[in-house]
Symmetry: C2
Subunit: 389 residues, 2 copies
């Protein structure tokens, strides 16, 4: 044995907090192996299969066996298709030239942060927020400056808050709308004011629109229909039902395509070819009709779950307008959402995600519940929760 | 228009040299569009399709539409399959626990470098070498220390050279065998001495074995059959014919799996599910038999190309033992391999890669010629080259 303990890990690895939900998942698997029925409401993955037309396009592409690298920026036809989608659905003019196809939104976030962050540069991120964002920034030796948000601010950053937090070392702001874990959509005029503020300070704004199509009270939108000086992250995973394919895209402001291309060539070579060819069928009328039907199903689940958990005494101070999550406040029921998550799993067989996975700000007061299970299972989960509360 | 020029790019982007071959490729495409027949010997991608059993496994997986995220470390069955492959083909005991499935060798290199590199840490890399390695290190704010290598040292680093180059800031050494662009295999005893040296200085050794199965004068090998304190990068792209799928793996020393898993969860979520399910068929007897037949074809091309270019007056001072490249010295024919590459393309319709894409050391004296075209095309290329030389 020549092995040593990992005593020389880079410091960026010292700061990675564990995903608490993974521990819960492992426990859920143990319970399942013992024959327990577990209802999974912790997962950030739609329960629907990939739409048939996308599957068929993937299979058709595989048939001749020629599975080669694509250009680093992605298949020209797919970049065009995304550009056309922005035009037809959002009346946004986004030239294909500014669209970079990536390995999931993960690849898009990695490229954007790598291209914009020097060591010590600070990024403003909401707390709670998508936990990986913080790690992308730390990976490239940037520094995360948390913007605590809560129900009072619709779980989104406010103009005064960002202005007050902005320092000489601030490089930019990352906003997610609809957001994970809270599902809230940022007010259009607030976002525009934030974008103006960031531009005035010669910073960069990254807008995460990966839950873009999954909104229930207003039409889906994009900041790109109003301005083109922002970085936008999007994904085929959530609305398009392609999680396991690992495909997303990044829209960059004019002039950034070439440097991002060079970075992508070196760090990724290219995104998956089967995924890119399959995704060419993602914007067909057939697929979009199916996806809109699924959106209605998510809407019905959302209503049922909101009503149900409120009936159990959980609070939802700001109703989520999008994504497929409810970020419920559990104060009054228990002092720690972590404890509650464990109790729900052990006693009710319902898996959820504790707030601590999304940050520190009032995290122990909150629990994320995903409606990525069907209505029958959601009703069953509510019934089981009721029986132990 | 709110767009600004990209005046605030991270400094890591200032240091990325262009891929000269891309400029040549663009010119080749222009010529092709004009009706010219171009023979592509610049490409680092096998011309064979993905083996049928792998394609079928991929299609079978897609059939039910359930294309979900896998665990961040990869499908347990695939990690087991890779472990079994090390045992059966190389008599190497590599527990599945130490195997991390990644988005190509690119993902493996990214994870290894990110996990091991603090800002300012230096890595020793050969010049010439795979150009992306330098960018992975610079991406994570490490510093590249070049080890100039040439035919005298088999284009591989030597013990005294590494010992002399090692400084207080050196974090580790990256060795590729067979190497790109030179195709040379490092001597086993030299590699073991290098590994001892690196261990003695409590550094890390990364061995790039992505061309592992493509050797023509000796059996394929792995350092893992001799020691387990190294990081090994491998890929389904080259030997297994799966470039466009973007799938590879990283073997880590004991104790590193958990930190690498956390990093992979955040930076990638997981590698492509279709690719992982397809790759389960990569180690079947049927597929391995086909891949060995392809290796014989590569061997025949290598012999023909070596003989042919020597006949043209190009020098191959050290015969490449593996990969699918010949790194030919063109001094005596012209003063700049870049000029020659352009002339070969314009006048002979043969695309090659100039040495400058792989480093600075005697780069203008060398040209990389890939035998990823069939024998007939290789003969045709040689004939055309002869006619203009």
């Amino acid at each position: 044995m020549n092995s040593r303990p990992p005593d020389r890990l880079a410091s960026r690895l010292h700061d990675i907090p564990p995903f608490h939900v993974m521990e819960l998942l492992a426990r859920a698997q143990t319970l399942q192996a013992q024959g327990r029925d577990i209802i999974h409401m912790e997962v950030g993955e739609p329960d629907f299969p990939t739409p048939p037309a996308i599957i068929e396009a993937g299979q058709h592409f595989l048939a001749n066996g020629q599975v080669r690298y694509t250009p680093a920026l992605g298949l020209p036809a797919l970049r065009e298709a995304v550009s056309n989608f922005y035009a037809s659905r959002f009346a946004a003019r986004v030239p294909a030239e500014r669209i970079v196809i990536t390995a999931g939104a993960s690849g898009a976030l990695l490229l954007a942060v790598a291209a914009l962050t020097n060591p010590g540069d600070e990024w403003l991120l909401t707390d709670p927020g998508y936990p990986c964002n913080r790690q992308f920034i730390q990976a490239f030796n940037g520094v995360v400056q948390a913007l605590p948000v809560d129900a009072l601010s619709n779980y989104q950053p406010g103009l005064e808050q960002v202005a007050a937090a902005w320092s000489a070392r601030t490089r930019g702001l990352l906003v997610a709308s609809p957001s994970n874990p809270t599902g809230t959509v940022i007010d259009k005029s607030v976002l525009d004011q934030l974008a103006d503020l960031v531009a005035a300070r010669t910073g960069s704004l990254i807008v995460d629109e990966i839950y873009q199509g999954l909104v229930y009270e207003q039409p889906a939108e994009t900041i790109l229909s109003r301005r083109d000086d922002v970085f936008v992250v999007n994904s085929f995973s959530k609305y398009f039902g392609m999680t396991g394919w690992r495909l997303g895209w990044l829209v960059v402001p004019e002039g950034y395509t070439r440097p991002i291309e060079m970075l992508a060539q070196h760090l990724f070579i290219a995104a998956s070819s089967p995924a890119q060819h399959a995704a060419l069928a993602a914007f067909s009328t057939e697929t979009l009709t199916l996806l809109e039907a699924r959106r209605s199903i998510f809407a019905a689940r959302r209503t049922a779950l909101l009503q149900g958990i409120r009936g159990l005494g959980l609070h939802v101070d700001t109703e989520p307008a999008g994504a497929f999550y409810i970020y419920a406040r559990v104060s009054g029921i228990c002092r720690s959402s972590m404890t509650l998550a464990h109790r729900l799993l052990e006693d009710a067989g319902v898996a959820t995600t504790p707030g601590l996975d999304f940050g520190a700000h009032r995290a122990e007061e909150h629990l994320r519940i995903a409606y990525t299970a069907d209505l029958t299972r959601i009703e069953e989960a509510l019934q089981r929760m009721r029986s132990i509360m």
